[in-house]
């Protein structure tokens, strides 16, 4: 019950923040899911600043202030400007009415929806039933919230916090701190809540924006990753990081489609919050964020669109808050452990570049990495589908809006490949972490595949039904060469 209270409180904070930032989509289900991601991120970003920076113990009063601050601020603003963000809401509602929630043909989408429902129900039940029983979870991921509940924070505890990241540390402890009772299962509930929020977001966003087939295809694709599905029932943070990055990626895809700067802001905000998960989160979230920023800069250069500095500020807020919290907790030298680790491993990799044994290890790691992508079964058929979609759409892709999101997926894959093959090849060869590490690529890739496939079908179906429109649209993409009328030859 106390976790239900946590959900309500954090969703309320998230809704208030969405209103304050002008980032509501107007679709109720989407906004609630987005509010969970944002509200929990807000709490996780602020809690370490309050606790370690200001030295304020996280009791009920502190929790109340953190959660109620955006609610009160939003209320005041609403009272002063009653018509805040009413326009996008109206637009989304209109689109929602037009689309309907279950797409046609039913013989395709009813089984897909059934699969999504069955797998989700199984994950919720199995996850809720299963106590924490794996090493990394007991030592770090699920232990960190207990340290937050204890609130003593000796040096060793702060090191665990730096490793787990603010979100896995403080989010499951929210209800414990509020009701002063610790329930070990809340750590799993927090992971399950992430899954439900992501599924509602992908299906709801597709539906509200007139493309329900895209929403269901996305949910189907991301539940096609066996290791991801299993991880959602565990108390590890790999699935959480993957889902947080996927939330950002969803709006990267939306931005590619709509060119609405609100979507870019949502994407950057969610990616900024993803940086609060695990020590790896900072680097992982940086890859798609950098691509999106690159896209915005490209548009500034090629299309003379204004560069959205406010949007970049939205990205910076959770990142800066997270950094301040980390620095306050463990000091500047230990606040960014992944950067130090990567630098150290890169140094080792360069030093051993000419040595035979590490070279052989990297070669073996490359083989195992290939196996992990295509044959091990941990990622299902996602990388085959990704390859197929890229090949089948090779001609259309360079002109497609999906090329930027594809670059974001490629950046994520490159990061994991470099890490798995060059920096820590031994964990790829013994297959202890490579499959988990790939989840942050696979889940966003699943969303990209769904978008690529449904967009292609929609374009071709529309072209078949409206040949004239098709001609017009093709003309817009590649203007046909006009022939000059031949001059009549006069005798």
């Amino acid at each position: 019950m106390s976790f239900a209270f946590a959900i309500v409180a954090l969703v309320a904070a998230g809704l208030a923040l969405l209103r304050l930032l002008g980032l509501r989509t107007g679709a109720r289900a989407v906004d609630v899911a987005l509010a969970w991601l944002l509200g929990s991120g807000w709490f996780a970003a602020l809690a370490p600043v309050v606790r370690f920076g200001a030295g304020v113990p996280l009791g009920r009063a502190a929790l109340g202030v953190i959660v109620l601050a955006p609610v009160v601020a939003s209320g005041v603003l609403w009272w002063r400007r009653r018509r805040l963000d009413s326009v996008p809401a109206a637009r989304a509602e209109v689109e929602s009415k037009r689309a309907g929630w279950l797409p046609r043909p039913l013989r395709v989408f009813v089984p897909i929806a059934l699969y999504v429902a069955i797998v989700t129900a199984a994950v919720l039940l199995h996850g809720a039933n299963t106590p924490t029983q794996t090493d990394d979870a007991v030592r770090v991921r699920a232990f960190a919230p207990m340290l937050a509940f204890d609130d003593g924070w000796p040096r060793e505890a702060r090191a665990i916090f730096a490793m787990a990241g603010p979100l896995p540390t403080f989010l499951p402890a929210f209800a414990w701190m509020a009701v002063r009772t610790l329930d070990q299962f809340h750590v799993t509930y927090a992971v399950l809540a992430e899954l439900v929020a992501l599924l509602v977001l992908v299906v709801g966003l597709g539906t509200s924006r007139g493309s329900p087939e895209r929403g269901w295809a996305s949910a189907f694709a991301l539940l096609s990753i066996p290791l991801f599905v299993y991880h959602c029932t565990s108390t590890y943070s790999d699935a959480v990081l993957a889902m947080r990055v996927a939330g950002g990626m969803l709006f990267v895809l939306e931005y590619a489609r709509t060119r609405d700067r609100g979507d870019a802001a949502r994407a950057l905000l969610l990616l900024g919050i993803a940086a609060l998960v695990k020590r790896e989160g900072q680097l992982v979230a940086a890859a798609p964020a950098a691509v999106l920023l690159g896209q915005l800069a490209w548009e500034r250069w090629r299309e003379q669109r204004v560069f959205p500095w406010r949007t970049v500020g939205v990205l910076a807020a959770p990142v800066v808050l997270g950094a301040v919290g980390n620095i306050a907790a463990v000091g500047l030298a230990n606040a960014f452990p992944m950067i130090g680790f990567v630098a150290q491993q890169a140094g080792v990799a360069v030093e051993t570049a000419g040595v035979r044994a590490p070279g052989a290890t990297r070669q073996a790691a490359a083989m195992f990495f290939d196996h992990a992508l295509f044959r091990s079964g941990n990622q299902g058929m996602i990388y085959w589908a990704l390859l197929g979609a890229i090949v089948a759409r090779a001609r259309a892709l360079p002109r497609s809006p999906l090329v930027w999101p594809l670059a974001a997926v490629a950046a994520l894959l490159a990061e994991v490949a470099v890490s798995s093959i060059f920096l820590i090849p031994e964990y790829t060869v013994d297959q202890s972490t490579v499959h988990r590490a790939l989840l942050v690529v696979s889940v966003p890739a699943a969303l990209w595949i769904a978008a690529a496939v449904t967009d292609a079908v929609r374009a071709e179906t529309s072209a078949a039904q409206h040949p004239a429109a098709d001609g017009a649209s093709r003309g817009a993409a590649t203007p046909p060469r006009r022939r000059r009328p031949r001059r009549a030859i006069r005798p």
């Binding site: 106590p131 299993y230 089948a392």
Partner: protein, 373 residues
């Protein structure tokens, strides 16, 4: 969790039962029942490995279990039906003997908590890593108490090696996944043919490619234009649909789908392959007061029990007991207690207790809660 399957009784199958040969060479009696042959327990009891600690009683074959033990059955089999019951938290594992070794950790790991009431446990040995038609079944027990086996019925394996190989490939392909310590890192690889090393992903990719080509051709003939996007959707649906159907078949039997509202019951019953540990954790949570200071101890060189006990006992102050040391640290080195400050020790198969502590509650003689005298 017992894997099931069908299609093993085809008329074309010719079985030359190694079991029958074994039985024919001895004084034992065998009774056939639905393809299974009941093996007399007295015949088995004289042929077991001595480490099995088995006693033939009027009720059946009784195994004394105190920690891990293995029973090598003296015949080859494809399936077993075991009518058994246990009187303590005991894990039953089944495997096969390959060479002189029992492969009790092959993936997917095959196990079940031994039932407390008389139950027929169905064991499909063909799903076990390394099975052949000559492999001898191995039953492994872990826990404390007694397992009473009232009857063993055997489905003998096909005599033909090629047929046995096909049986093995089919059984392994459909074998349900199982929860084990390494599942968090990777799922069991799915092979279309394990004996040939053919990956299921390769087969699905090929089928999807053919689907793409077929859809492309059909759409072109019907509509007069190329529609690679629709063909791509069809191929993707085929690829993900086939994979997901197989995924459901393998993972749903593994999932714990019964709603259990009580968290104490979840902790007691849902350490799936560690029933004795689950019972101890639940007992400790029920009997140790929140203000008491706890030390947890497990088997030497094993991280699991002591850490997980402390985790389950939070927010009580808990440290991991190191028998040779005076000061003990908590999980990941957070917090510490001296031995003299400890009120309660929870031991899961741990070494001897420090002086002054006596067991006060137990789930087995080696897993207990101890307090100061």
């Amino acid at each position: 969790m017992a894997p099931t399957g069908c299609g093993h009784r085809g008329a074309a199958r010719v079985r030359a039962s190694l079991l029958a040969l074994a039985l024919a060479s001895g004084p034992a009696r065998a009774v056939a029942q639905g393809g299974f042959t009941a093996v007399p327990l007295e015949w088995i009891s004289t042929r077991l490995n001595p480490s099995a600690r088995a006693t033939l009683t009027p009720q059946g074959l009784r195994f004394d279990v105190d920690g891990p033990s293995q029973v090598f059955l003296p015949f080859a089999a494809e399936r077993l039906e075991l009518e058994l019951e246990a009187d303590g938290p005991i894990l039953l594992i089944w495997a096969v003997q390959v060479g002189s070794q029992a492969m009790t950790w092959g993936r997917p790991w095959r196990y079940e908590v031994a039932p407390r009431r008389r139950t027929t446990v169905k064991v499909d040995l063909a799903t076990v890593a390394g099975w052949t038609n000559a492999a001898r079944p191995v039953l492994a027990f872990d826990g404390y108490g007694h397992v009473l086996v009232r009857a063993i019925r055997v489905l003998s394996p096909p005599a033909d090696v090629e047929q046995a190989r096909r049986t093995y490939d089919r059984a392994r392909f459909w074998a349900p996944e199982s929860i084990g310590p390494v599942l968090i890192n990777s799922v069991t690889p799915v092979l279309w043919s394990e004996s040939r090393g053919t990956s299921f992903a390769d087969v699905v990719a090929l089928v999807a490619l053919l689907s793409f080509a077929a859809a492309l051709g059909i759409l072109r003939r019907r509509g007069g234009r190329w529609r690679p996007g629709v063909a791509l959707a069809a191929a993707t649906l085929v690829a993900l649909g086939l994979w997901n159907a197989h995924f459901l078949v393998r993972f749903v039997p593994m999932a714990n789908l019964g709603p259990t509202p009580d968290p104490e019951e979840r902790i007691r019953a849902n350490y799936y392959y560690l029933p004795e540990f689950g019972a101890l954790a639940a007992l400790a949570r029920a009997t140790i007061r929140p203000e008491e200071r706890v030390a947890a101890v497990g088997k030497p060189k094993s991280w699991f029990a002591s850490q997980t006990l402390c985790f389950d006992l939070a927010p009580r102050r808990c440290v991991i007991l190191r028998p040779d040391e005076e000061v003990h640290a908590g999980i990941s080195g957070v917090g510490s207690l001296r031995t003299s400050d400890v009120d309660v020790i929870v031991s899961y198969r741990g070494p001897e207790l420090p002086q002054g502590f006596v067991p006060v509650a137990a789930v087995s003689p080696r897993s207990y809660i101890a307090r100061r005298r």
